[in-house]
């Protein structure tokens, strides 16, 4: 089967309301369904790799959000499933995040290396 690169370019889009990232979720479902899929995190989505996400405590009146999104955990779960995770190094640098704050098992890619990464996949889904 063709290999797919799923590009998350909309970091933190709707993650509070959804309790997860809709694209990571879809990618995980496709992986479970047998797709040979890798992930590329672009823009603010590179911050998903920083360990220690915690948006707990949100509540409206008496309604507490019990299971807020934990995006580093969701990425780590993909790594554990064998999904390869790439991120754009310049986008991490732009946020001023040091690499030693990232979870293990993820791969930096420079922008100049993207054409090679793309050519190694049969389909690119850029979300």
């Amino acid at each position: 089967m063709t290999s797919v690169l799923s590009v998350v370019s909309t970091g933190y889009r709707a993650t509070i309301e959804e309790q997860d990232d809709t694209i990571l979720w879809f990618t995980a479902m496709c992986s479970s369904a047998g797709v040979d899929v890798s992930v590329l995190l672009e823009g603010n989505a590179v911050n998903y790799l920083v360990t220690g996400h915690d948006v707990g405590g949100l509540r409206f009146g008496e309604l507490e959000v019990e299971h807020p999104p934990v995006l580093d955990r969701d990425v780590a779960d993909l790594v554990a499933k064998g999904v390869k995770i790439h991120y754009i190094r310049e986008d991490l640098d732009a946020l001023g995040v040091a690499e030693d704050r990232l979870l293990d098992g993820v791969t930096p890619v420079k922008r100049a290396e993207l054409p090679v990464l793309f050519s190694n996949h049969g389909q690119i889904w850029r979300w």
């Binding site: 889009r13 709707a14 509070i16 309301e17 997860d20 979720w25 409206f60 008496e62 309604l63 779960d77």
Partner: protein, 132 residues
């Protein structure tokens, strides 16, 4: 002294973090005894749809109960439960029509820009929170 805040929301449910922020502002204002009037325009009329239902999360392997995912109408129902006499909510009627979004929770009512104008004239401040 009690003030009155009018807000316009535009984002559909589950699209941005904007609505979350707006509802937090509303909750905080009402928690300090102020009045809040929300005019839901365009996609925001879908926030209060009665038939919204939580779902399980097959990626995490959680059941509906374990995932415990509040829908947007749950958040707004919680605001009504906590501050019902301070909250007024109008869904733009023509926006409701073109979306087929007429079945809402108890609380929100149908209206139009004329209602918004009346609110604005009687408010201490008006906050427009657009979609992009």
């Amino acid at each position: 002294m009690t003030k009155t805040l009018t807000m316009v929301l535009m984002d559909p449910p589950y699209e941005t973090e904007t609505t979350t922020t707006a509802l937090r502002i509303a909750d905080a204002a009402m928690g300090k005894d102020h009045r809040v009037q929300v005019f839901a325009y365009e996609g925001a009329v879908n926030l209060t749809m009665a038939e919204q239902a939580p779902h399980p999360n097959p990626v995490k392997g959680t059941s509906v109960e374990e995932e415990s995912h509040p829908t947007t109408k749950d958040w707004i129902e919680a605001l009504y439960a906590a501050h019902g006499d301070q909250l007024d909510w109008i869904n733009c009627g023509l926006c409701v029509d073109e979306r087929g979004a007429g079945r809402t929770i108890h609380g929100p009512r149908r209206g139009g820009p004329g209602d918004f104008v009346s609110w604005m004239e009687a408010s201490d401040q008006t906050l427009v929170i657009p979609t992009r």
